[in-house]
């Protein structure tokens, strides 16, 4: 990716002349604002950003970003972005998706993008509901949820997006919240810096069809108790440092720091064992606080690099292809 240090880009450069049409009060506004704040700081020329989305409320995102953008079809953004990135590794390609888009109709593309480790930045807006189709339960809605399509309560077991990602061999996995603006910006920045697929789940409030889904951990008086903010190399502390997480094997347990001493608290390792990241990803109320931050950041071969290295290697060893040799190089005969 080409980066130029002094591009003098500002938030305004990334705003379009289109009216933003999300419902007033939607969490998407906050996410858009952070993108427009972070993109100018990445040292990437504006014309090298591409934002690709599928279908859903979140998928309108590209229309509001003054970059190259592609609003595609339901669930397919990872596949479209993969094709683009393979041919154009010079671009910074961002995939915007929602819980329905990426975990229902597009589940297959999501896991295959992750296992290949295509150098894409994926931001999943998880509002645990179908918003655009006006309020049906989604694959991340909790059991028992009453919606238009589940008037007696949903009986579907939900996906946990980060569990899915880790199960698909994701090398970079993070979680953040629409209301935590600074944290959200920091996560976008970390995703941008990562080489390979970076998967960021954003808890996003749908104030029309699923209002308050994350209130238990976003309200001012709840945050301390129910958010565990991860920092690499730091102990897993929350409740203003009074409580922490220890691990017994791969089983997390909440303890009082005063009882066990700070040294007993588990220290977060972004490049630690995947089973640890998996356990961390699944912590939630009422037993645990929800972990936000970079849960996992490791490095492995990047798909588009490998594809293009193979092409280059073939050119280096066989020489650039010639049509004459391709056609006339096999077994031919002359007819006079």
């Amino acid at each position: 990716m080409s980066t130029t240090p002094d591009l003098k880009l500002t938030k305004k450069d990334f705003q379009t002349d289109q009216d933003v049409r999300w419902c007033p009060g939607c969490g998407d506004y906050a996410i858009l604002a952070q993108f427009q704040k972070v993109f100018p700081t990445l040292g990437i020329p504006k014309e090298n950003f591409v934002v690709i989305s599928g279908i859903g409320c979140a998928a309108r995102f590209p229309y509001y970003m003054n970059t190259y953008g592609f609003h595609t079809i339901h669930g397919r953004a990872p596949a479209i972005a993969s094709g683009l990135k393979v041919m154009r590794p010079d671009l910074s390609v961002w995939v915007i998706t929602g819980d329905g888009d990426s975990l229902s109709i597009g589940g297959n593309h999501l896991i295959h993008m992750l296992r290949r480790n295509v150098n894409l930045k994926v931001v999943l807006f998880n509002n645990q509901i179908y918003g655009l189709t006006k309020g049906q339960y989604s694959p991340t809605s909790e059991v028992g949820k009453r919606t238009k399509s589940s008037p007696f309560g949903s009986v579907d077991e939900p996906f946990k997006p980060l569990s899915v990602a880790l199960g698909a061999e994701a090398a970079f996995v993070a979680r953040t919240v629409d209301r935590e603006q600074k944290h959200l910006g920091a996560m976008l920045n970390r995703a941008a810096q990562h080489d390979g697929t970076a998967f960021v789940e954003v808890y996003q409030n749908c104030n029309i069809f699923n209002d308050g889904a994350f209130l238990h951990m976003t309200e001012k008086d709840k945050k301390a108790q129910w958010q565990l903010v991860l920092t690499d190399g730091e102990p897993l502390l929350f409740a203003n440092g009074e409580k922490g997480i220890v691990f017994e094997g791969f089983e997390p347990k909440v303890v009082n720091v005063a009882d066990v001493g700070i040294d007993a608290i588990h220290v977060h390792q972004e490049d630690g064992p995947i089973a640890y990241h998996y356990a961390l990803a699944r912590m939630r109320d009422p037993e645990f606080p929800t972990a936000i931050g970079v849960l996992r950041c490791t490095h492995r071969a990047v798909y588009d690099d490998a594809v293009n290295a193979q092409v280059q290697h073939t050119i280096d060893t066989k020489g650039e292809g010639s049509l004459q040799d391709l056609l006339y190089g096999g077994d031919t005969w002359e007819v006079a």
Binding site: T16, Q18, P45, K46, E47, N48, V50, I52, I55, P62, Y63, N66, T67, Y68, G69, F70, H71, T72, I73, R76, A79, I80, A81, S82, G83, L84, K85, V86, M87, R88, D90, L91, N108, H109, H112, V307, N308, Q310, V311, T314, I315, K318, G319, E320, G321, L323, Q324, L326, L327, Y328, G330, D331, T332, W333, E334, V335, A336
Partner: protein
């Protein structure tokens, strides 16, 4: 060669048939390859089961390879074999109904034991009960002689038996007077790392050849002279190979790099295999997780400025439909190569059919027009692939390229094109706003002649823009729900495709432009229709053949040619799909000559049906 009588023949059709594990495809391919090198014109028909190894000795497991070669131009793999090699009772049983009286049968007698015969319903031995009395039967204990030829090797009996197809090949080389050297060279190369296998196969090949020469079983052998082909350099090519090379060439001529998104599917997979070999042309092949991802990845590549291709067969096209519609509304070049097979659903994966034409035309939601083109022969796939690239990039549109299992797997000698004479398809990406645009780039500002919108590579400063599946305003590309705008955009997308008619050659007409009956075909039926028309003309019938390579839009001469004939018959391997289109477009009373048996047309059946039709018409 012994002093046997040598009979000269114009064309010969040979069919190799055995169990699907017997190596019949390889045997047929080698026979074809040698025949091409001695200068015969030819056409082939591989005919094999969908199962990789169907139960041994059953009718379902019979794998066949038919080739017609000749000293004159050959247009089809032949209707009925003049010679059949049957490696077991099932192979004999499966082919008895296609044999003409007097055909030669080469039968591996070792395989005719009671149980094997009973398995396929021969209650008595057909070699003894008179079943084969109208054929020239040559009984050869192929398995026994093969084992004997390999007595001195360390191979197991099983391994020895695996070479028996080379005995059949050697014998056929002798019977039809072709050299064994090319296959010997090929074996040396193929098994360079396993010389003992190469030696065994060579020994058995020679044993087959010498068996023909030294036994007195064969009264005479046959000679087929070289064909009078147009001067030039030739090579043998299958349709799928020519498709792969055509797209490599098309991308290069366009000045771009080729991206293939594909999910393995019969009979299209060989294109994926072939393209994945040619990375030094900058080709990237992406074996996707499914058909939808394959086409979507190609659309992403097209958005990035690459020549984007997805290869598949009918079921895959069904899955790709929504994405093809996306390529249509965002107006990006995308080529979908549909190597058709028998349908519906999984249908007949390894058999040919032309039943996806209306799917190509209409198989998407909304008004979603796209150009449809179809190659006529294996070699023609090369030029038509280049044509697909030309139309897609010039008009910024998805293009459906309709091959079929018959030409995909079939081979013919192909006169190689002069590389320097291939068309220049250089793409001019838009790199800056025009004066008319001022400060605002208009991604849907159209070329007044082609109605194509500009193609911009992401990374171009100042031309950042958004495209998407929602209806958009012409010019700005901004999302629009304005009623009149949707009408306008729908009409524009259709008009853009319609205008391609000004930019394509006339449909090829063989014969007079007026007459009693016009046979219209498209795609891989070319050879059979052409040969049938030649026969009919020789018999004094006023019949011509028009072949359509461009189906949507149609070439401008199509209507005029049709109106020059008393009767118009569309011959297709479906239930009448082109007929449906022609009737609705021109209000001409087109009749259908249709077949859906998973097999190509036979020349004889076309001749017969046309004559019957003409004679019935003359009486009424």
């Amino acid at each position: 060669m012994s002093v046997a009588n040598i009979e000269e023949l114009d064309t010969v059709t040979v069919r190799f048939a055995g169990d699907s594990g017997d190596g019949m495809q390889l045997t047929g391919t080698q026979f074809t390859y040698t025949s091409a090198l001695v200068g015969n014109d030819l056409a082939t028909l591989p005919d094999y089961p969908a199962e990789i190894r169907a139960p041994a000795g059953t009718l379902a497991g019979v794998s066949g390879f038919q080739v017609q070669f000749g000293s004159q131009q050959v247009f089809t793999p032949g209707d009925k074999p003049d010679a059949l090699v049957a490696m077991n009772p099932a192979a004999l049983k499966a082919n008895l109904n296609v044999l003409e009286r007097g055909a030669m049968l080469f039968i591996n007698t070792d395989a005719f034991e009671k149980r094997a015969m009973a398995k396929v319903g021969f209650d008595t031995n057909p070699l003894e009960d008179g079943t084969l009395s109208s054929y020239r039967v040559y009984e050869v204990p192929i398995t026994t002689i093969t084992r004997r030829a390999l007595e001195d090797t360390n191979l197991t009996t099983r391994e020895k038996d695996r070479s028996k197809n080379f005995f059949a090949l050697g014998l056929m080389y002798w019977v039809f007077g072709r050299p064994i050297e090319h296959t010997i060279e090929w074996l040396d190369q193929k098994f360079a790392k396993k010389p003992e296998i190469a030696e065994a196969n060579k020994a058995v090949l020679k044993a087959g050849y010498h068996y023909g020469e030294t036994t007195e079983t064969f009264g005479h052998t046959f000679k087929v002279k070289s064909a009078q082909l147009k001067p030039g350099t030739y090579r043998q090519v299958t349709g799928n190979e020519a498709v792969a090379w055509g797209f490599i060439a098309g991308a290069k001529l366009a000045g771009g790099e080729l991206f293939l998104g594909s999910y393995p599917i019969t009979p299209a997979s060989p294109i994926l295999h072939e393209l994945s070999k040619h990375k030094n042309f900058g080709v990237r092949t992406f074996q996707a997780e499914d058909e939808i991802a394959a086409v979507c990845a190609a659309i992403g590549a097209a958005f990035g400025g690459s020549i984007a291709l997805t290869t598949t067969s009918g079921p895959g096209v069904a899955l790709k439909a929504e994405a093809i519609g996306l390529a249509g509304i965002v107006e990006l070049p995308l080529i979908i190569a549909n190597i058709q097979r028998g349908g519906p659903s999984t249908g007949l994966p390894t058999k040919t059919e032309q039943s996806d034409l209306l799917q190509a035309m209409f198989g998407r939601n909304g008004e979603s027009p796209m150009p449809v083109i179809a190659p006529a022969t294996p070699g023609d796939c090369f030029g038509m692939a280049i044509e697909a690239v030309r139309i897609a990039t010039k008009y910024m549109t998805p293009v459906m390229f309709m091959s079929d299992g018959y030409i995909a797997n079939g081979a013919e000698p192909w006169k190689l094109p002069d590389v320097a004479s291939l068309p220049d398809l250089t793409v001019n990406f838009k790199v800056a706003k025009s004066e008319a645009e001022g400060d605002t780039f208009l991604p849907y500002l159209r070329d007044p002649k082609t109605l194509a919108r500009p193609w911009v590579r992401p990374g171009t400063p100042g031309l950042e823009h958004r495209v998407g599946g929602l209806e958009k305003s012409d010019g700005t590309g901004n999302v629009s729900y304005v009623p009149e705008n949707h009408q306008k955009m729908t009409e524009l997308r259709q008009a853009k495709v319609d205008r391609i008619a000004d930019d394509i050659p006339d449909a090829e007409v063989f014969g007079d432009e007026t007459g009693d009956l016009l046979l219209i075909g498209w795609g891989g039926t070319y050879g059979a229709l052409h040969a049938a028309t030649m026969h009919l003309q020789k018999r004094g019938r006023k019949v011509s053949h028009m072949h359509m390579r461009h189906i949507h839009p149609m070439a401008k001469n199509v209507e005029g040619v049709m109106r020059g004939f008393k009767h118009v018959v569309a011959a297709e391997l479906n239930m009448g799909q082109l007929k449906f289109m022609l009737r609705s477009k021109f209000l001409i009373d087109v009749q259908g000559l249709n077949k859906v048996q998973g097999q190509p047309f036979k020349v004889g059946e076309i001749v017969e049906r046309v004559e019957r039709y003409l004679d019935a018409g003359a009486q009424s």
